[in-house]
Symmetry: C2
DNA sequence: AACCACATTGAAATCGCTTTCATCGTTGAA
DNA sequence: TTCAACGATGAAAGCGATTTCAATGTGGTT
């Protein structure tokens, strides 16, 4: 039978309240009793029952974390940062993986509330509207992570800016025919990256025709779809993938097909996950401020929890700027291409696969010619 | 103010116990009262306070998971599998990341016990002895994951066998001069892989001299240390890294230095993490049965929790067999080398870096010549 | 009419802890 | 000597649930 505060008290010959006072230093004890209690605790190997304490205190010192998954490097990193920060601040992390299932996510949030968590860190996968609606009558403070939610506590990278940085980089290098590997646009973050990318491209008088975009769930598999883009005429000289994982998937096909990066084709990603630096050449990418995202989210939430009703911070929705990491996988376009006609149209020498551009040329004259300046 | 069972009872005009009966279907209610209660619950948006229930029931339906980190693909995968399985089984996961700190690990376990978790899944980073000792007087069921602990509930890959598989593969391909990139041997899993590797190699009359081993913490950085091995004479024709991450780190240096894999050098890893399949060529590796490890661990623990004192399963320590995944990064030795002399000693053509073998030849004559058959 | 069985409902104890506030010496000052 | 002040301790209430068991009402039997 587990030791309780009562059993300790009995052994020490004092009242339970005295033991409690000893534990919490909430009243001065004579040296003698203190010693007695101490010994009794040691003898029984007593540990306070936090469940009971929490019930009494109406505070659990625990925070629920709901996240689509933790195996993807990006989310994994975020989750790790948050757990660490929470532990430092004295909070226990209740981890919930939604596996991108809105139903599951919702029931997890409900469950966490039932468990009386002091707050919730949520990387939602549902539609924004739905989340907002169901969370309306929840009394627990919530901070949205990696999601932009106006008027709510939220913290997120400026994906739009990230998209622009990518576009500017590629355009500045002289690329005119650019392919896109993008996640589902229903994911807001992806949509914003694309949006930013397109917008900045326009400034250079460029665009990415529909045919030059491969869409799908953001994972390694999606990267493989790059083969579709490679068959296009003119062939893209640069690829922007909406995250690094996708870029790495594409990388594989590229190298297998005999392309040399960046000589034959430039490629860049988004996120800056750990392995990206370790590719050869290392992957150019738009880096998200992982630590800041996770760290700030926790701080925000903890402040919220500790503030109680009082003192609401000024800015609720924080947006962090990403940074461009120029590395080896992108290079200036060889012998400046003009007029939307790709030079160097031939496949690179050691090419194996990638069926050679069949006679079916795209009808659109100059599919990606510069827009009206 | 949050709704309690009492407030619901009052609104419904019944006693709290009746509401409880309604919630838990522990007594039959007349249709009328049931409806009343139901409406009151809906009206107040009442959700049971699991903290209070748990206190009363002396069961929290929560499991503590302590793991060195979740950002490494291997642990991340395991953690994800466990969380999923636990959620399915109705348990909340309390995640604790020890960050490879034994102190932290211990205090986390203690904390979890204080929180009255029903059980603990532990991937310990302390020394085995120390863990065993401090956990001796803990009353909560524990299952050790990815660690072999005789006489305790534990589940682990057969690392020794894994090492042997790797050695046999490389030896069979004809490699005679083999380099090792190994994690710290103080980590038992690593030690066992090495042990198995050495043993199997001996069967082929081979050995790996001390100079051909680079040691360090198992991460991307360690892989870079392969440069040390490349300067050896004779140069190794194959590399075994004790996990995939390390192999990938080495991969980078290798390719940067102009080596072609597997033409110029073979390399293999351990774990079979997701990206390994996506390298070009894909990485040969010894695959750990992730899902089985995580899944079985959860099942074992849940059984333990639910069995209570009764019925202890026969086998406490489960060992799972890894499988060899032969992929593209290993190949037969070109023109069989004999006598411990590496043929093809020259650097591959397009070599850039890797300072050429300076005149200082290793004194040991035939450092890795075949052992007595 | 008296009695009993059965179906509902609720009073009260309890889980393990915190916290208020009263109590009970002691002690120093008047 | 008396009293106020103080330091140390403990009795009891309460956090929000569950669960036992008694109480109540109903209807069917004899």
């Amino acid at each position: 039978m587990k030791a309780t505060i009562r059993s300790v008290a009995k052994l020490a010959g004092v009242a339970p309240s005295t033991v409690s006072h000893y534990l919490n230093q909430t009243a001065p004890l004579s040296a003698a009793t203190a010693k007695n209690v101490e010994q009794a605790i040691a003898a029984l190997n007593y540990r306070v029952n936090l469940g009971a304490r929490n019930l009494r205190l109406r505070k659990t010192n625990s925070i629920g974390v709901v996240i689509p998954n933790i195996t993807s490097p990006f989310f994994g990193e975020i989750a790790a940062v948050m757990e660490n920060k929470l532990w430092e601040r004295g909070f226990q992390t209740l981890l919930c993986i939604s596996e991108r299932s809105p139903e599951r996510e919702l029931s997890q949030v409900a469950h966490l509330v039932s468990r009386q968590v002091d707050g919730i860190l949520l990387v939602y996968c549902s539609q924004k509207s739905r989340v907002a609606e169901t969370l309306k009558n929840i009394s627990v403070p919530i901070v949205f992570v990696d999601r932009r939610v106006p008027d709510q506590y939220s913290i997120c990278t400026d994906n739009f800016l990230g998209g622009r940085l990518a576009a500017r980089h590629l355009a500045t290098l002289g690329h005119r025919v650019i392919g896109l590997l993008c996640g589902e646009p229903s994911v807001e973050n992806v949509a914003e990256r694309i949006e930013g990318f397109k917008l900045e491209l326009q400034r250079f008088g460029l665009e990415v025709p529909e045919a030059y975009r491969a869409k799908g769930r953001q994972d390694l598999q999606l990267g493989l779809r790059i083969t579709d883009l490679l068959q296009l005429e003119p062939r893209p000289t640069a690829i922007f993938a909406t995250n690094d994982i996708v870029a790495i998937g594409a990388w594989r096909k590229l190298v297998e097909s005999g392309f040399r990066i960046p000589r034959d084709i430039s490629i860049m990603g988004f996120d800056d996950i750990a392995i990206s630096r370790f590719l050869v050449p290392p992957l150019t990418t738009v880096a998200q401020p992982y630590r800041e995202i996770g760290g700030k989210a926790v701080e925000m939430l903890v402040d919220l929890v500790q503030a109680g009703e009082t003192a609401t911070p000024a800015e609720k929705s924080v947006i962090l700027a990403p940074t461009l990491k120029v590395r080896g996988s992108t290079a200036p376009l060889k012998k400046g291409g003009v007029d939307g006609k790709a030079i160097d149209g031939r496949l690179p020498e050691r090419t194996k696969a990638v069926s050679p551009p069949k006679s079916k040329r795209p009808t659109s004259k100059g599919a990606s010619r510069p827009l009206k300046s």
